[in-house]
């Protein structure tokens, strides 16, 4: 039998449909689907068809993204979608001269960013682009809450998002418990991002963490066999007692 029942390429997808993976919440599985990030290191055409500048006829065009490498340290900071662009370049920008290896890396800065919801100053490695994006979103909390997962491209970013959403969902106990005025102000500002607590708990978890969380939720202490046996015995004795004929003496 030279062929498998399912081709190896679909094994990953099949694995997600059985066992504990199938019992994960649906909104979490939906968030795991890969989407394309906003282009950062290249300019997209944006259109499907355009007129060929030479001939003038309509032609179909496609956007081909540049492959970017995101080193593991990028997950501990907020790089704003930037990464290492590694490839080649032509010397003196001339196609007929030597081809040389080239890697472009972003410039990293360590900045202290204050979050209103979490009331804490975080020291994060950011890039200039991240700071511009924070300004465009009118605030650090807004930037974290508005950017989708693919654009944030950072475990730390998603963890911050999860913490903020949880704090907004549990606003009565956690959001500024000592200062009701500040609590109202901050809540009014960010209440458009509020989501139910069950969904907020799963935001930004990777697969391993999610599986562990689901396992914890489904975990039950094993019941001792003794109790089950005792219950069964009591039931049998009761039935036996009922089956015995009921003798009454006639006087």
């Amino acid at each position: 039998m030279p062929l498998f029942k399912y081709p190896p390429k679909v094994w990953e997808a099949l694995r997600m449909k059985q066992g504990i993976y199938a019992r994960l919440p649906k909104h979490y599985l939906k968030s795991l689907e890969q989407k394309e990030p906003t282009p950062v290191h290249w300019r997209p055409l944006g259109v499907q068809y355009r007129a060929n500048p030479q001939t003038g006829h309509k032609e179909r065009v496609q956007d081909v993204p540049i492959p970017i490498y995101y080193p593991p340290v990028s997950q501990d900071g907020l790089w704003g979608g930037e990464g290492w662009v590694s490839g080649y370049r032509y010397a003196k920008n001339d196609k007929l001269s030597t081809r040389l290896k080239k890697t472009w890396k972003p410039q990293l800065l360590k900045r202290e960013l204050y979050s209103e919801i979490l009331n804490h100053k975080f020291t994060i490695t950011v890039t200039g682009r991240t700071l511009d994006l924070i300004d465009a979103a009118y605030g650090f909390d807004f930037y974290i809450l508005k950017t989708p997962k693919e654009d944030l491209n950072s475990k730390l970013g998603m963890d911050l998002k999860r913490a903020m959403l949880l704090r907004l969902a549990r606003k009565d106990t956690e959001l500024y418990p000592d200062d009701p005025v500040k609590k109202e102000k901050v809540y009014e500002k960010y209440k458009q991002f509020e989501i139910p607590e069950e969904e907020a708990e799963w935001v930004g978890l990777n697969l391993v963490e999610a599986v562990e969380k689901q396992r914890q939720l489904e975990h039950k202490e094993p019941e001792p066999l003794f109790e089950a046996c005792v219950d069964k015995l009591v039931e049998e004795l009761r039935i036996q007692k009922l089956l015995e004929p009921h003798l009454t003496e006639k006087k």
């Binding site: 906003t38 282009p39 950062v40 290191h41 290249w42 300019r43 997209p44 055409l45 944006g46 500048p53 030479q54 179909r60 065009v61 496609q62 081909v64 540049i66 930037e82 662009v85 490839g87 080649y88 370049r89 032509y90 920008n93 196609k95 081809r99 080239k102 472009w104 972003p106 410039q107 202290e112 204050y114 890039t127 200039g128 682009r129 700071l131 511009d132 994006l133 300004d135 465009a136 979103a137 009118y138 605030g139 508005k146 989708p148 654009d151 500002k189």
Partner: protein, 295 residues
Amino acid sequence: MNMLSSGRRVLQDLLLQPAVRSFSLSPVQSTIIVERWWEVPLSKVGSPPRLHPRRHRVYKLVEDTKNRPKEKMELILTQTVPKLGGRGDTVFVKKAMGRNKLLAEGLAVYPSPENKQIFAEELRTVEFLKSSHLKINRMPVDEFHVNKEILCRQFLKRLDVVVPPHALSFPFETVKDVGDYWCEVQVNGIDTVRVPVSVLPYEDPSAAYQRQLKAKKQQQEAENISEPSDETEATVRAVVSDATVEAEAKPDEDSVREVSEASAPAGASASEKTAASAEPSDDKTAPPSDSPKKD
């Protein structure tokens, strides 16, 4: 493999277009922008393009964002900042100054639509209060006096302005006489507006008395028009006191004289002008302190 001459020119033309961004209106400010030297052949719809491992990895640097001229950022100030402006001003500053100084220390906020609305409302409040004049009718009660709480209530009743007691400062403590005074109201942040308050003699709200008053007023207006208007201060003062205060004006405090002249509607005397120029300069003094919102 076709050469990239046509493709390259096309790409160069298209480089000027900003990329589509989901939430911000500014163009993409990437740090490094590259493009391919070799054109990728078009693939069928639905299948990914096939990339050559070396040829399609040769890139050319198009732009490095850090070499662009530095743009300035727009912020709205919340306090008076030297060399930039006062509260509510929209300023353009360098990004370094804005992020590290103004935003970090809370001296400014981002110009989001919500923030802009708050500051516009504040401005409207200040303008309204500047042009308003609180008139209280004296009740025919022996214990009549005007203090802070009564002023607050009068503000609410007559001008529909909610002024909490700690935002209002009444320098005269208790006032029992008819005349003109002033009080200071603190709006939201730091602005203190001086609102003139005048205590007028008792007016019976019943219809009969009102009709009497109306008749009297019309008589007096006719008299004023017939008399030639003099330019001396004494006659102006007399006319003014007749027009505003029905009964004889009791002697006011000397320090209040100027302000009462200013608040009087008629007259264009020099004292009024000096008082008017004194008022705006008073309003601009901004002692920082907390205060509530105006409804």
